[in-house]
Structure formats: C-alpha cells, structure tokens
C-alpha cells in the first residue's frame, strides 16, 4: 500500500504546474540544509571539549542533561515555524478500498523522513561518542542515553505535529503551551523551581538505569497514538463533518469607498483574509513578529552591527507583506477565471493588492515605533525599511507573483492545508531582506550609518514615485501570462 502512496506523491510533485519553481526552491533549501548540517555537526563535536573548558570540574554530560529541557522547548518552537508537515490529498482515497489506518500511518511515518529529525542526531552522536571515549560512563549506558535523547527529539516531532494541527483549527489552542513554557522559564529564572535541575536529575538517572529508556519510548508511542487518533477522527471531508454551517457575518466595509476605484477589490481581499483560516493566520504571524525586535535589540551582540537592524526592520514592517504578497494572485486562484472574464483592468487589481500591503506596512511601522526606546537609530532604520518595503519590495513581490501558478485552496480543511507554512516562505523572503541589508552594510562601511539610512529611504521613495509606471509594467506581465496562470490554478493539488 505504501508503495502506491509514494508513487502518488512523486507524480503529484513532478506533474504539478509549479514544478520548476518547486525544484528551484528545493535546490536553495538543499544548500541551507547542508549549511545547517555542518553547523550542527560542528556543535556536536565541539560540545564536549567546550563544556569541559567553560565548566571545569563538572561533568559535561550533567550540564547537557540539565539544559536538555530548554533545547527541547527551543526545538519545538523552531519546528513549529519551520517544519512543514507532510500532506496528502485524501479526498480521492476516501471511497477506495484502502484502510484509513494505513493512510494515517503513512502520513505519520512520512513525517519522520524530515531533515529536522537528523539535526539532533548530529549533536547527540558525537557528544555521546566523546563520553564513551573519555570513559566517564559505561558504553552501554551512553548508547542508551543517545537512544533516549533521540526518542525525545522524535517526541518533539510528534508533539509539533499535534500542536500544528490544533493550531490550524484554532489559534487559541497554542496559547496554553506558550504560557506554560513562559511560566517554567520564569520559575527557573527566579530560582523558585529549577526545571533545569529536574531535567538534569531525570536524565542522569536514565544514564545510571538504562532500563528507564522505556519511559520515553512509551511517551513517544503515546504521542504517536494521540496523533493517530486525532487524524482518524478528522479523516473526513469538511462538508460531511461540519454539521453546523458557519453563520455569515457581514460587516460594513463602506469606509473602503474612499480608496476610489480599488475599493471593491480591497473589500474582497479583507473578506478573503478574515473569512478563511489560511490567510487569517498570516495576520497573527505578523503580530507575533512585531516582538522579534525585542529579541534582537536587547541582545548586546547586535549593538555594533546596525546592518542587522535593517534585516529586522524589513522583516518587522514587512512580515505581512512577505506572507501575503508572495501568494498574489494565488489567493484568488479559486475564482481566477471569473476575475479574468470580468470587467477588471489588471492594473486596478494589482493596485488594490499593493494598497493592502502598503496599509499593512504602514500599520506595522506605526506599531513598531515603541522601539524608539532603544534609540533614535532603531526608529530611523525601521522607518527607512518601511519606506523601502513600500517602494521596492511591494512591486518586486507583485512582479514575482505573475509567475505564480500554484493554486491555494482557501476552503480546504486544516487536515491537509499547509501550503506555505514551512521554511520555503521565508526563503522567498530572503532577497527582499538581504538586498537592502547589503546596500546598507556597504554604505555604512564606506561612509556612515546616517547616510546609509537616508539612501535606503531614498530608494524607497524613488520606488513610490515610480509606482504607477511599475504597476503598468507588472500588469502587462500578468496579462501576458494569464493563460498559463488560469491553467495552473485549475490543477487541484495537495
């Protein structure tokens, strides 16, 4: 049975309209993966000698054991944002004589074939081998420890799977985990309850009593079972499952009329975002990313590298723009044929998309003004980045969109809808962030930060002045590739 599934997956990938784009991204991902593999391998090899040097007199294993809990928490968050879950189109399979169980097992096992499950191995194995060579603990004990650690990583894999599913249904489901994590961190920080000690003691015991490895194995089995049960209960199409139909809430959007000709599209886009799960999450992600600055500005390492603040500035003011803009016009893919046969000038359609993104940039820029607390420079860079986003990145995203041929199913159940919630969407955003950062860095090195800020802002203003011209050019591209786009959007994909 699994052989058939694998066969289907390969065909779905190679026969999709966007295979060229996907392969390009995969290659780029490949480079990143190699880079991270190296980073983790170096970390794994250097960990033992490093800990020995920094904490003389303490057993490196004990130190590692006590911080494992934070590592796991970090890994969970990291996976949550970066790891895309395996997807499968279940509709055609539902009525075929295939056991639901085998489809679910396939999806769950497929999630193991992920690069994120290899990273921990690269740290665990070298570190464990170091311990064996040094002879601190028995060889068997260390092998069991390595095994146990890897089981923990797999637990995170399935925990993430479960959380992501629940999160897709309801953002509030994620909140308890965040609160719980913060409470533990707080308790540890203020020394009320040392979770690091607990983690250390538990894992030290594992080294002494290898038989205890059964406990994580049982937990892993438990998580697997929970996932299995959840998927099994949701193994239906939405329509047959939904007993109650969502009541339509109509809100008055007549205020958009003041935007003139683009008003109907703006209203449509707002409704699209608000009434569909998939685009709605981009709003939440934007708000979460506003806090990104806190992580960076409070960190003294970045004090002397203002170029890095440009990256942060572009991301903070442009996170919605990046997440939304790279899927234009796929958001309208379900009814793109209708849009193309209606009396819609392409430029107006694009202008409304640009308008929506511009508004988001302005709002996020305003919301980020409290970072003034970290100095005028920070605020100036953020505002310059916002201008750059408005003038340059929005047209760039719209231009790139004219090559979009991949359908987005807004109405698809959360069961299988993870298009663009993995690492790829950030990679698409990389050039948008890196180019201004490099420009800034160059001028900053040659002259100074003030001039660099002015240059970034000026480029943005030039883009704004040229927007009309740019939109005309981009619209011509959309019209030219119209047939390919319509054809691509017709393809039902996973």
């Amino acid at each position: 049975m699994f052989k058939h599934f694998i066969n289907l997956e390969l065909k779905a990938f190679f026969r999709s309209a966007s295979v060229g784009k996907s392969i390009g991204l995969k290659i780029l991902m490949g480079f990143l993966v190699v880079y991270f593999l190296l980073v983790f391998l170096v970390l794994g090899i250097a960990l033992y000698p490093m800990l020995e040097k920094v904490f003389p007199g303490q057993k490196p294993l004990t130190i590692v054991n006590s911080f494992v809990i934070f590592w796991l928490a970090f890994e969970l968050v990291f996976r949550f944002f970066m790891q895309s879950l395996p997807v499968m189109n279940i509709k055609p399979l539902l009525v075929l004589p295939i056991k639901k169980e085998s489809v679910i097992h396939f999806v769950l096992l497929k999630s193991l074939i992920s690069i994120y499950n290899i990273f921990p191995l690269l740290v665990i194995i070298p570190f464990g081998v170091f311990n064996i060579i040094k002879g601190n603990d028995g060889t068997l004990n260390m092998i069991v420890w390595m095994f146990g650690m890897y089981i923990l990583a797999l637990i995170v894999n399935y925990a993430n799977f479960l959380i992501k599913k629940k999160f897709a249904e309801n953002i509030k489901a994620f909140l308890p985990f965040v609160v719980l994590g913060m409470v533990f961190f707080g308790l540890d920080y203020f020394g009320v309850f040392k979770i690091t000690t607990l983690s250390g003691v538990v894992l030290d015991t594992l080294v002494l009593q290898p038989i205890l490895v059964l406990v994580p194995i049982l937990i892993l089995a438990g998580f697997y079972f929970l996932n299995f049960k959840y998927l099994k209960n949701n193994f239906y199409l939405d329509n047959s499952l939904q007993s109650k139909v969502e009541e339509a809430k109509t809100s008055d959007l007549s205020w958009t009329k003041r935007f003139g000709e683009i008003a109907p599209f703006l209203q449509l886009d707002l409704k699209m975002i608000w009434r569909n799960k998939r685009p709605k999450t981009t709003i939440w992600i934007s708000l979460i990313f506003l806090a990104y600055g806190l992580m960076i500005y409070t960190n003294p390492t970045y004090k002397d590298t203002p170029a890095f603040s440009v990256l942060v500035g572009i991301l903070m003011t442009g996170v919605f723009m990046i997440n939304y803009g790279q899927f234009v016009p796929s958001w309208d893919s379900n009814y793109y044929g209708m849009m193309m046969s209606q009396n819609i000038p392409m430029k107006q359609y694009l202008a409304s998309k640009a308008g929506l993104m511009s508004v988001s940039v302005v709002i996020l820029a305003i919301l980020s003004t409290p970072y003034l607390y970290f100095g005028w420079n920070v605020l100036a860079i953020n505002l310059a980045c916002a201008t750059y986003n408005l003038g340059v990145n929005i047209p760039v995203l719209l231009f790139a969109g004219s090559f979009n041929k991949k359908r987005i199913d807004l109405e698809k159940s959360p069961f299988m809808n993870y298009q663009g919630t993995g690492a790829t969407q950030w990679i698409v955003g990389l050039p948008l962030m890196l180019i201004p950062t490099l420009i800034f860095y160059g001028i900053y090195k040659l002259i100074n930060a003030e001039v660099a800020i002015i240059v970034i802002a000026t480029i943005g203003v030039i883009g704004l002045v040229l927007r009309n011209y740019l939109l005309n050019t981009i619209a011509a591209g959309y019209t030219k590739r119209k047939y390919a786009t319509i054809n691509g959007f017709k393809q039902q994909e996973n």
């Binding site: 139909v245 969502e246 009541e247 339509a248 109509t250 008003a263 109907p264 209203q267 449509l268 409704k271 699209m272 009434r275 569909n276 379900n334 009814y335 793109y336 044929g337 209708m338 193309m340 046969s341 209606q342 009396n343 819609i344 000038p345 807004l410 109405e411 047939y483 319509i486 054809n487 017709k490």
Partner: protein, 231 residues
C-alpha cells in the same frame, strides 16, 4: 454579434475544437449541444479569452477577444462554480459583480427582486457563505449574476445540470424572457436536447470539435437531433 473564423484549439497535437466559420447575429439565442468532449466548454473558454486559440479568432461585437479586453463590459458568463467566490454571501457576491459592472446597490436590489421566485427563498438573507450552499443553489447565484449590468452577450455553460425540476422550468422561463429581448445574444450549452430546443432559436451540434448540425429551431428539430444522437 459574434463571428468565429478558422478557430481551432489543439492540445499536444490533438484537435479538440475546429470551427471553420460561425456567425451569431445579435439577439439570437443559440443552443450548443454535444456529447462529453465535443468542445462546448472549450468554445466558451475561447470566447472568454480564458485559453488561447491555436489558430483563428473570435470577434465579439467588432472586438477581437484575444487582442482587446473591451468585450468584457457587455459580456457576462457563468461557466462553473469556480466563477463564484466561496467566502462571500450571495448578496455580497451580487454587489461585488455590480461594482465591477458599474451598478449601484439599488440597481442590484431591483434585479434580485425580479428573480425572487427563481431563488425560491433559498438564496437571499440566509446568512450563508456561497461555499456552504448546495451545488444547485450555487448555480442559481451564478446564473443570476450574469444578468447584472444589462449585458448584451450572456454565456451559460450547462445551466440545467444540477438543478431540481422546478428550477429547471423556472430557468427556462428566465432564458425565454431574455431571448425575447432583441438586444441580448444568448449562448447556452447543454446535454439535454429537449431543454435546449425549448429555449433556443437555433441549435448547433458539436461532435469531436466539429460543427455537425446547424439548424433553426422548428417542430421537427428535437426529433432530428434525437435521431442524430441515437445509438
């Protein structure tokens, strides 16, 4: 109103549509019949410039459809459910189309009132999104949306499919009324010979992409067509 010249569409060397010449005068109601794969939807897609012709062209009211977009203001079509926007309520959808066609809210309300019987109370003021309506009700919305903004060319692909018998009869009435208006050219495709003969002045039968019959509707038309499609 519509002239078709040397029009053909090929996919990987297979010809799916090949029409030497077809002229549809203004005000005519034309029924397009044929089996699956006869090229009906392909023809409509070409007419709406959703796909590119391999050869030839279509001229809609003097405008070459794949060269200019000026045919859009007076042409309205409903091909399938992908012409609907699932996350809007029916009212919002009608107003949206109205906005695009330069109609204000009052115009739309007046139009919708006229078709209240056709909707059978299942469409308006139900607080449901289009995606939650049944296929038949979605179709009703799509069909009426094509009448917004006084179009001169109305294109309906398989309008009778998926509808209940009562609605089919109501739809026939709606199309007949439209056909009486000599400013409106109607193109309807269907598998159902009887429905098509009832509402159209002229029937064109397609088979494997070629026009095999082109007849003005008369008493004998239905019989003639049934003979043609008999096994």
């Amino acid at each position: 109103m519509i002239q078709v010249n040397q029009l053909s569409k090929k996919y990987n060397g297979t010809t799916v549509l090949n029409i030497e010449h077809l002229e549809i005068p203004k005000g005519q109601s034309l029924g397009l019949v044929g089996n699956n794969g006869a090229g009906k939807t392909t023809f409509f897609s070409l007419l709406l410039d959703l796909i590119q012709p391999s050869t030839g062209s279509i001229i809609n009211n003097g405008i070459l459809v794949n060269a200019s977009e000026d045919w859009k203001p007076f042409t309205a079509a409903f091909i399938d459910e992908s012409f609907l926007i699932g996350y809007l309520t029916p009212e919002e959808y009608f107003y949206f189309i109205g906005d695009l066609r330069g109609q204000n809210k009052a115009d739309i309300d007046a139009l919708l009132e006229k078709y209240e019987e056709f909707f059978n109370g299942e469409i308006l003021k139900n607080k449901k999104y289009l995606r939650d309506l049944s296929k038949g009700n979605q179709k009703k919305v799509g069909i009426i949306a094509t009448l917004i903004g006084n179009p001169e060319v109305v294109i309906l692909d398989e309008p009778f499919a998926n509808l209940d018998p009562t609605t089919v009869n109501r739809l026939k009435k709606v199309i007949k009324e439209l056909a009486e208006n000599k400013d409106i050219t109607i193109l309807v495709s269907s598998h159902d010979l009887q429905h098509t003969v009832e509402v159209c002045d002229r029937i064109v039968a397609l088979n494997k992409g070629e026009i095999v019959k082109d007849i003005q509707t008369s008493e004998e038309t239905l019989q003639e067509l049934e003979m043609f499609f008999a096994v």
